[in-house]
Amino acid sequence: MSIINSRRSRVLGLVLLVAVIVAAGWIVIRTIHPSDFRLSALPQRSSSPDFRLTDFNGRPRSLADYRGRVVVIFFAFIHCPDACPTELFKLAQVMKRLGPASDRVQVLVITLDPERDTPDLLKSYVTAFDPRFVGLTGTAEQIDSAAKNYHVVYVTAPTSNDYYAIDHSTSTYVIDAQGQRRLIGSMTTSVDDFVHDLKLLTGGLKQGG
């Protein structure tokens, strides 16, 4: 009797041990390490600076409004002929490729040219790439402060013909659903890499390491 009992408890212990190992392994596997990301992962998690802007429908917006969703921020302007449409088109492709996960992603396009980019223009421009994109504008000061917080540099560069170009950073910023800044993408980041990383972030997974 006691032999059977001890055998039983030994078997039970073994089963428990295996279960613990499997569970631990699963947690390790399911935990994202910064090295799992393909975009540049920020070494330290810190809450992303908020902004006070207005969306293209005239509604005041701050980053906190998008809590619960992974936010992708790109600073752009309509008179940008090359980098902006290329990057926005890429982000639109990313949204398509994300499939259902795209419901948990919000792309925000912040104009660096509030003077020329009226809310109406911004709306028709931004939504042409993807109807889910939201364009944000504001006063020159608001834009300035948002850009500074994201370390976005932009300088107005006049050319002839009363026209001015804007030198600008072309990074794309990814903020997780908890409002923590996480990743920075660039013009050379591929659609695949964006999709990969956004899937990781929208999976509701814990970060380790």
């Binding site: 309509i78 008179h79 940008c80 002929p81 090359d82 980098a83 449409p85 290329t86 926005l88 088109f89 890429k90 639109a92 492709q93 109406d120 223009l121 911004l122 709306k123 028709s124 421009y125 042409a128 790439f129 540099v153 560069a157 050319t159 002839s160 013909n161 026209y163 170009a165 804007i166 030198d167 600008h168 950073s169 072309t170 990074s171 660039s186 013009m187």
Partner: protein, 283 residues
């Protein structure tokens, strides 16, 4: 260049035809019967339909795309019985003639209804292929411009999103002669046209107007995304994919050269290479 494109167009045609046939064995049988019966009248009929829609375009592609597709479609290099017919020299309404011929052969085989059904499917496939091949091959006719020692290859532009008043244009200048300078670019589609350079320094994209661009002897200059580009400021109309518009390049020595830029899609990052274009049409 143009000839190469035609050949590719022909290949595209053949490829898609094969797919069309593979979809249905019965269709293959019909196709053989039709061919053996001595006619590629369906091809003629379709061809004439297309010819009526766009005579010039059809004439340009007919020999390469249509005829050669027929030539190679049936495995063995069957001599084409009526290549002249391919050009549509029949005095009667070619469509009716072709239709009556089809009806005759079909009737003789006693499967009129079946044939008609399959023919309709086949015609749809073939027509689509033909239009796709045309749509791609025709713009190519205007792609490269050569004047003296200068060749402008693949001038292209990108469609603009609604609200955007600026566009871009890109091309490559290949110079087989002595040094020259591109002084300016003119485009009636924009109020102002400027040449800009773009450099990315630590992720900061800098755009600067350049007043002239040196074209070295035996060298080439490329206007491309992320680099030199022509800025079309205050467009008179939005740029739509597939549209073409004239650009005039003014050189110090060679003088003015007029080219036609082809507008690519909203997210295009390069003029389509031949391989890509063929690939697209296969899908």
């Amino acid at each position: 260049m143009m000839v190469t494109r035609m050949i590719v167009a022909a290949r595209v045609m053949r490829g898609t035809r094969r797919i069309g046939i593979a979809q249905d064995d019965g269709e293959l049988a019909v196709d053989r019967r039709q061919h053996e019966a001595g006619g590629n009248e369906r091809a003629q009929a379709e061809h004439r339909q297309h010819e009526r829609r766009s005579p010039m375009a059809c004439a340009a592609v007919s020999q390469a795309a249509l005829c050669s597709s027929h030539h190679n479609n049936h495995g063995a290099p069957t001599p084409l019985p009526d290549q002249v017919g391919c050009l549509g020299t029949n005095g009667m309404n070619p469509l009716n003639v072709a239709r009556s011929q089809v009806a005759f052969y079909s009737g003789a085989l006693g499967v009129l209804k079946v044939l008609e059904g399959e023919l309709a499917v086949y015609t749809r496939i073939h027509r689509l292929t033909f239009l796709l091949a045309l749509a791609w091959a025709i713009p190519a006719l205007a792609a490269d411009q050569r004047m003296g020692s200068l060749t402008i290859t693949q001038p292209w532009s990108r469609a603009t999103a609604p609200g955007a008043a600026v566009g871009v244009a890109y091309f490559e200048i290949v110079n087989s002669g002595g040094q020259d300078t591109l002084l300016r670019v003119e485009a009636p589609i924009a109020q102002h046209v400027e040449m800009h350079s773009m450099t990315s320094i630590g992720g900061l994209m800098q755009m600067r107007q350049v007043l002239s661009v040196d074209v070295p002897a035996k060298g080439r200059v490329r206007f491309e995304p992320g680099g030199l580009h022509v800025m079309l400021i205050d467009l008179t109309q939005p740029l739509k994919e597939g549209q073409r518009f004239p650009l005039t390049l003014v050189f110090q020595h060679a003088g003015s050269m007029r080219v036609e830029a082809i507008v690519q899609g909203l997210g295009a990052t390069a003029a389509p290479s031949q391989g890509e274009a063929a690939h697209e049409h296969h899908q």
